[in-house]
């Protein structure tokens, strides 16, 4: 039996979940990277005022439903091992939203509960998953949580004009139509990109809320916001990264707070920071212009352009 894994919100768990599914005798099937078609399907389904990632996720769920017998949309209180924090409310309610959007298909949606922020949360989630799939009896070994972020290999060899940090939620940075575009535009403009995907480290994730609390006075409620902010704050400290770009999605609730607080922190220290808001209308030319202008400014600050 094939179990579909839609890309998007919970993509970072796919590697971990896939190997467990294979152990159970299921065949995991991942939806294709986001394309124009995914986007269009998504907009048709989720027509309301919601954010871009929800629309994209809806498109991926549609594709997974076409390809597989069952589709996994977890109900996770928290999708990172970070005690007391939450998923963003939209991804938390995604299983119910999908049930509402796909009507009669809902019987094929498998949505086990879990909270990876709790002790032994990973193990409990896998047990729930097996139960939701109707597996009884002994289970294959329950491997500890693994987070796979798809890193990008740079296709260019140096020399580079500048080293730029790229931060944002993994479902945005890993998406071909969002972060992927920014990544390749920056590279073709001659910059070396250090991304959140390279620097995120699962073992240090539980400490991220404390780092955020030290900087802003209160940790964020959302686990990925804490992870992203702590990496961005580390980029602020290091000389290695000259400027940071945060890729956000239109109408993202959490980024309104994270982005504006980071912007303040960077402005205080005089390091360039740009919030790049992506939506379904983002055009390539506009994006390229903004990125080039930003890079020019970084170089100009260093004196590279004037000399």
């Amino acid at each position: 039996m094939r179990v579909g894994l839609p890309r998007g919100f919970f993509e970072h768990l796919h590697g971990w979940v896939s190997s467990f599914l294979r152990g159970l005798g299921f065949e995991p099937v991942t939806s294709d990277p986001t394309s124009r078609r995914t986007l269009e399907e998504g907009f048709k389904l989720a027509f309301s005022d919601t954010c871009l990632p929800v629309k994209i996720y809806a498109g991926h769920v549609r594709e997974a439903l076409e390809r597989a017998d069952l589709v996994l949309i977890p109900r996770l209180e928290n999708d990172l091992p970070m005690w007391g924090c939450y998923c963003c409310p939209k991804s938390k309610g995604m299983a119910d939203v999908a049930r509402a959007l796909f009507g009669s298909e809902e019987v094929r949606i498998v949505s086990p509960r879990g909270n990876l922020g709790e002790k032994r949360g990973d193990e409990l989630f896998l047990r729930e998953l097996a139960k939701a799939l109707g597996v009884e009896g002994s289970l294959p070994p329950l491997s500890p949580l693994r987070v796979d972020l798809r890193r990008r290999r740079s296709r260019r060899e140096g020399p580079f004009s500048a080293r730029v940090g790229l931060v944002g939620y993994p479902y945005i940075l890993m998406d071909e139509q969002l972060g992927g575009v920014v990544f390749s535009r920056l590279e073709s403009a001659g910059a070396e990109v250090v991304s959140f995907l390279d620097l995120f480290d699962l073992s240090s994730a539980p400490r991220a809320p404390e780092e955020v609390k030290r900087a802003f006075g209160k940790p964020f409620f959302w686990s990925w916001s804490n992870a992203v902010a702590s990496v961005a704050l580390r980029m602020l400290e290091t000389e290695d990264v000259e400027a940071v770009i945060m890729v956000e999605s239109f109408a993202c609730g959490t980024d309104a707070w994270v982005g504006s607080l980071l912007e303040r922190a960077f402005a205080e220290r005089g390091k360039p920071f740009m919030q790049l808001v992506m939506d379904e209308h983002t055009a390539d030319a506009g994006l390229r212009t903004r990125l080039e202008a930003f890079l020019d400014m970084v170089l100009w600050r260093r004196g590279g352009l004037c000399s």
Binding site: D49, Y86, A95, V97, A100, G217, K218, F221
Partner: protein
């Protein structure tokens, strides 16, 4: 010592009662106008939610025109963004150049506790109120504020019904009664003022209304008429009786007090919030799940329709919004979702409500 906080519908008078009974001088927050919103928008992050923009603008206006030593706000534990408002108020107001002491009430346990802040607050209250009498004064202040809140909300609930029958008369009676509640110095006076006001408002009621609608959704847009471009008033003008399904006291009872640590929990009024529904199982924060769950209850209570109010980009409510069409169909209650931001105009909202009402009346006739 002078204290202020952002305006929040009729609950403002309860906060005022509380701080005045503690011995503070309460700085009445500035009225909410277009300028409040413009100020708020120009200092807020672009995608901050509307309640943040309004309350920030309100604080700026109040601090600029009237000044205050203390700014008090509620905190929270998420996942709704509301709990983080305080952190940004403090930074933004500080950048604008205001100097003040800051009170943010975070729950005293869990990941987001802030014991030092809580101790500071209690110490300040004791300093203002006199050390020895502090605990009893605190209890008295809380009791008075609670009575005021309940009275003001009861008056408002009655206003929303009687407005459908006589708009001007109802608003006049309500304004007078609310002022009396606001000025009352003791719980007995509050009760008396509320009783008089309620009797006066009830006398206005007459005949059957054209329709009965309920407001569901995000608490600030429901509680503060300014945030929803005065939806409740527009509906009243059209002859619709309105009921609000969330209120400040309900929020306090079901969320704030329900989670209070022992032994405080024994003394606080609480209510059990039944949010369970087959459409949205997850708690998505705020009142998201309640917005969906309450539809069935409203249908049972004979409402003709519900108006779902939310700020644009509200994370809990936008999730509910995607589920509501399905719930609405299953329950058999028409629902219209209205998202508000600084671009929303009263005329646009009115047009949509008129069309919605026409449809509801048509449906009512057909079903009758």
């Amino acid at each position: 010592m002078r204290v202020t906080l952002p305006r929040m519908g009729v609950a403002t008078c309860a906060f005022k009662g509380f701080y005045e009974a503690l011995g503070f001088e309460f700085v009445e927050p500035a009225p909410l106008t277009r300028r409040t919103l413009d100020l708020g928008v120009s200092f807020s992050p672009e995608f901050a939610c509307l309640p943040f923009k309004i309350t920030l603008g309100n604080l700026i206006e109040t601090l600029k025109e009237r000044g205050s030593d203390v700014v008090a706000v509620l905190g929270g534990v998420g996942p709704c963004r509301f709990g983080y408002y305080g952190v940004l108020y403090r930074k933004i107001l500080g950048d604008v150049g205001f100097r003040f002491e800051f009170e943010m009430f975070d729950p005293p346990s869990g990941r987001f506790e802030n014991r030092r802040m809580l101790l500071d607050i209690l110490r300040r209250w004791a300093r203002v109120g006199g050390k020895l009498s502090a605990p009893s004064r605190l209890v008295r202040a809380f009791y008075l504020a609670w009575r005021k809140l309940k009275a003001a909300e009861a008056l408002e609930a009655e206003l929303l019904i009687s407005r459908a029958h006589d708009l001007k008369g109802a608003e006049r009676a309500f304004a007078r009664a609310l002022r009396e509640v606001d000025e009352a110095g003791g719980a007995d006076e509050v009760e008396e003022a509320a009783r008089r006001g309620l009797a006066e408002l009830r006398a206005i009621r007459g005949g059957r209304p054209r329709a009965r609608m309920a407001l569901v959704g995000e608490i600030y847009t429901v509680v503060e008429p300014f945030a929803s471009c005065y939806v409740e008033r527009t509906l009243g003008e059209m002859g619709v009786e309105v009921h609000k399904s969330v209120s400040t006291s309900h929020f306090a009872e079901s969320v704030l007090f329900a989670k209070a640590p022992w032994p405080l929990s024994c003394f606080l009024p609480t209510c059990h919030e039944d949010e369970l529904n087959p459409f949205l199982l997850e708690d998505v924060g705020g009142h998201g799940r309640r917005s969906v769950a309450v539809l069935e209850e409203l249908k049972r209570d004979g409402f003709d329709a519900a108006v779902h109010l939310m700020p644009f980009g509200c994370m809990p409510e936008v999730t509910a919004q995607l589920v509501i069409p399905r719930a609405s169909e299953a329950v058999g209650l028409p629902v219209i979702s209205l998202a508000f931001d600084e671009q929303t105009s009263e005329a646009g909202v009115r047009t949509r409500l008129e069309a919605f009402l026409d449809m509801v009346l048509w449906r009512k006739r057909r079903c009758a």
